[in-house]
């Protein structure tokens, strides 16, 4: 039962609970109109202290498609945070208005603070460079639908693995499945943080290797998960400029990839995947976007205890 729970990090749900969520997502995908009044009378609060289009629209669309309504703000200046209000106080107030809330905040651990104070289910919509569990749900659902399994996969993560919260969350979630091999492709400066290595080592029969060259490992992958080098995570603009073009996936590189490999990306992309790759049937990043909306519908329904 997920009713009343929070989703702050990927391991908040068991693999069995995830499986139920994916089954519900697939049902909604098959017959969306059957679910169009499931959340009638419920209100989702979207608290976006950091700019976002995709995640916010995905949540808002999910709630609207379930027949619910949405309140919220986007940008720190649009909230009382600009007056110096704490996250705890904001969430205590929001808990009086809404039935469920999603928060995105630039500081790591902010969603946990929110969940301890809201009194309603809270979903982490991204807390700084830390975790982004609903992107993880999206990614897992996409892998499950495209590869037919969540175990025994060789998954390459490429780009900014230091600040890429979607990478951290997905690694943590996949570590619970058997036979996952992580190939971590990044420049030295953007390698995964120590806690992510610990997540892998605690996992079920998981292995990892860290490399700097994408071409060497591309032919071995089941999944290539590309990421953007994020300007907003750098304190130093010079470092960003030096590293931003480290890895660019184009048609020529895709010739080296297995025919059944899939390319994923949490989006938005800048230039790390050339647009020419978009028409390759292995490119699944826009499929992810659609899956994301359906899995968020399933998530909202489950946390609110709707059937």
């Amino acid at each position: 039962m997920l009713k009343g729970k929070n989703l702050i990090e990927p391991l908040d749900f068991t693999t069995e609970e995830l499986e139920k969520l994916f089954v519900l997502s697939n049902k909604i995908m098959d017959k969306p109109l059957d679910f169009s009044e499931c959340c009638k009378g419920d209100i989702l609060a979207t608290l976006f202290y950091e700019p976002s289009t995709r995640t916010r629209f995905s949540f808002e669309t999910a709630m609207l498609r379930l027949g619910g309504q949405v309140i919220g703000f986007s940008g720190e200046n649009a909230s009382s945070a600009a007056k110096g209000e704490s996250i705890a106080d904001t969430l205590k107030a929001i808990g009086c208005y809404a039935d469920i809330a999603v928060i995105r905040h630039p500081k790591e651990g902010s969603a946990l603070v929110a969940s301890k104070n809201a009194g309603i289910p809270v979903i982490n919509g991204g807390d700084g460079g830390h975790q982004h569990p609903t992107q993880t749900l999206t990614d897992l659902l996409t892998i499950k639908r495209e590869k037919g399994r969540l175990a025994n996969l060789r998954v390459g993560f490429c780009g900014d693995l230091l600040f890429g919260r979607t990478v951290h969350s997905l690694i943590r979630a996949l570590s619970r499945y058997e036979g996952i091999e992580f190939i971590l492709i990044s420049p030295e400066e953007l390698k995964v943080p120590e806690f992510v290595r610990n997540d892998i080592l605690r996992g079920k029969d998981c292995k990892y290797c860290e490399v700097t060259d994408m071409l060497d490992v591309l032919p071995q992958l089941d999944i290539l998960y590309m990421t953007r080098v994020q300007r907003e995570r750098f304190f130093n603009e010079e470092d960003y400029i030096r590293l931003k073009d480290s890895y660019i996936l184009d048609e020529e590189k895709m010739l080296l990839a297995p025919k059944d490999m899939i390319v994923m990306h949490p989006l938005p992309r800048v230039n790390e995947i050339s647009v020419e790759v978009d028409t390759d049937p292995r490119a699944k990043y826009f499929v992810q976007v659609k899956n994301g909306m359906y899995v968020r519908m399933a998530l909202i329904m489950s946390l609110l205890g709707k059937k």
């Binding site: 704490s86 996250i87 705890a88 905040h105 630039p106 500081k107 790591e108 651990g109 902010s110 946990l112 603070v113 807390d127 700084g128 460079g129 830390h130 120590e194 806690f195 610990n198």
Partner: protein
């Protein structure tokens, strides 16, 4: 250097040299307490050690002491004799003892949030910030 023995109180011995002052700050010392902080004393266990002696101590945070230096030893003194030796076990969870050093952690901008850490590895004495997962060695 000679420091008088105490009649009733505690002696924290074998503190790693340099940590005595920090540990003392967690000891709920009140203005009337008799306290001795001995720094850089010679030691068989370490090359140098700090020692704290507190007369008539009421309560203190063993968890905080264990996190700061779990190799220290605590002797409870009554009527001039050691009546109890306390071994320091690393606590699984500590609140407001350690501070997260990650500038991106929510605790860096919201001072009212309690600083909560969980023990990751007793072998390496590593703690994880509850909020941002940053690993620190006290």
């Amino acid at each position: 250097m000679e420091v008088n023995s105490i009649e009733n109180g505690i002696v924290i011995d074998h503190i790693r040299a340099g940590l005595g002052r920090k540990i003392l700050s967690y000891m709920n010392i009140e203005s009337g307490d008799t306290v001795a902080l001995i720094m850089n004393a010679t030691s068989k266990k370490h090359a140098r050690k700090d020692i704290i002696k507190i007369e008539n101590i009421r309560e203190f945070d063993l968890a905080a002491l264990a996190v700061l230096d779990h190799t220290a030893t605590v002797n409870v003194i009554k009527q001039g004799k050691i009546v109890e030796k306390i071994n320091l076990d690393l606590p699984e969870k500590v609140v407001d003892v350690l501070r997260c050093k990650n500038p991106r952690c929510v605790t860096s901008v919201e001072p009212a949030i309690p600083q909560i850490f969980h023990l990751v590895s007793p072998e390496t004495v590593e703690y994880r910030c509850e909020y941002c997962d940053e690993i620190i060695k006290p």
